[in-house]
Amino acid sequence: MSHAVHSPARPDVSTQTPALEVRGLGKTFHIGALFSSQAVRALHRVDLTIGRGEIVALVGESGSGKSTLARCVARLEKPSEGAILLDGVDVLKRDRFQASRKFRSQLQMVFQDPFGSLNPAHRIEHFLRRSLAIHGKGGTGQGSEEQTRQRLEELMTTVGLQADMLNSYPHELSGGQRQRVAIARALAVEPQVILADEPTSMLDVSVRIGVLNLMRKLRDEQGISMLYITHDLASARYLADRTAVMFAGEIVEEGESLDLLAHPAHPYTQLLVSAVPDPTRAGSYDPVHRATLRQAVMASTTCAFENDPDQRCSAEEPVRHQVGDPLNRHWVRCHLYRPGAGAGGHALATEPSTTVQ
């Protein structure tokens, strides 16, 4: 029953204007009293490009800044610096103070918690109708109700739900069904880009694949670009064309998904790959190897590309080294560039001491 499926030939996205481009995005949260100088640097010089009809996965652990990135791009937070280009236009410059309706019709978001992202006080129909109404997709004048009704049913069918669920309240639906409603709501405005912030991590295991398949279907049939944020490498590999790895608010490696996971170049990516539970690889946990990788992430003294004459290393500037076949556009940040002070947070700080016993 299993057969290899090669992704349909992707149009060469590198020549067209990307659907979404993030340049040098930075976000610093100020904490403490009004005039304190204490700050947490959540994002630093993030560059990310999503081509038309492309799904890009952003993987990283909690505290890496991926949700902050999503919120900044969705303009739920104000970035401290950088540019966000939709279709080539910098929306931070175009709509300075707050996101315009046009922006909202181009970019939509699906949230992590299916139980929290639908207002329990409203029926399903309400969410879809509002999306249509705000962006004028329901038509006006005579027959507009009919048109709207039709559109609602179309949306429900597209995401694989029955039309009679329109009358239900969110708490009557299962987690997977709610997430499909959230996707339908995003689809209603006919966006170019959908940001999906861990859309399946709070769903039951058996329904996750269904939602991922739906996302793939939307990309294939409607050409919608997506940013798929997750901590689950396997699902990133399953769904996304390209994968970017985030650590401590910066992107450390990026490339075509299959290639990146088969040949992870950055020690942090290697750490992630080795940590994924794999029944065929039982008993593979090696604490010494783990400690070496950790050390390499936080304070590397060598870089794999040191001896490559074409690729210059640098400890001050975040230089990108190309990895493998250029067609895969797989690059890794120079290992000599250290993460900022205080980075590393959870996964790498204060972990088991290998000295005891």
């Binding site: 290899a4 972990e351 016993q357």
Partner: protein, 317 residues
Amino acid sequence: MTVSQTSFGSHEPVLDVKNLTVKYIGDTRSTTAVDNVSFSIGAGEVFGLAGESGCGKSTIANSIMRLLKDPADIAAGSISFGGKDVLAMSQDELRRFRWQDVAMVFQSAMNSLNPVLTIGEQMADIFTTHAGYSRKESLRRAAQLLELVRIDPARLKSYPHQLSGGMRQRAVIAMAVALKPSLLILDEPTTALDVVVQQEIMAQIKDLQRELGFSVLFITHDMSLMVELSHRMAVMYGGRIVETAKAHDIYTAPGHPYTQALMGAFPPLTGPRIPLTGLPEGVKFHNIPDLAEVAPGHFVAPFDADAEAAVLEGAAQ
């Protein structure tokens, strides 16, 4: 330290659950959360209980420790630990039973540590309460425990919020094995943790299990994790067990369509991209019959061919 220590490798099961049925009695109707479930765990064995939300696995764990509260009610069945009837225990016996014979690490336990007490105080508490040691002795033993889970004993003076999530979880596990119980119940021990930390916690548990020799009831929805760690496992659906066998056998030859769906829900990290299906919406299993043996030690609940067809059909969508 334990009241009833079953010797390693003996044939007497540490835990024997027979025909357990648990219902939640509501105002207008009652729901059966666990329906006629039976399984047993031998000494030194890791037994995995897999299933998704609402299948009843947490209810079983709470039943074993007699932690169920209104409106939950154990309607039928028996739970025996080392030959003793758990359901018939008095309050006094229960107090000795809990934590000394069976200990449990709850879901998100690391978030349930008392925020206003140091780790040392909370650990010493276990010894002073259950074993009656002096405070000094208890703190000494607490330091030993921390070393067991590879945390610097100086952290005894830290408050929970000063430790990372992974460290807190290891502290909680240490607290659970403090009195060397015969059975450790782990209810989704790594769900809230990142994958890197998760692997370390699992390795830690394996080490502890080898050293101290306790049995483990491991509850999770993460099948890959479970197959890696368990000797035997059972898959639950809607309060019933649909399949049980050695972990390796379930992984290589899952018998029930639900198990197949669960196994098929994990995209591989290597090899070509294959379309997967998981469990299509709307496929439900009703009136699951009792388990039947399909291979030595491998039990599957008979299912109708339609259900399997539906699961396979979903693959075509």
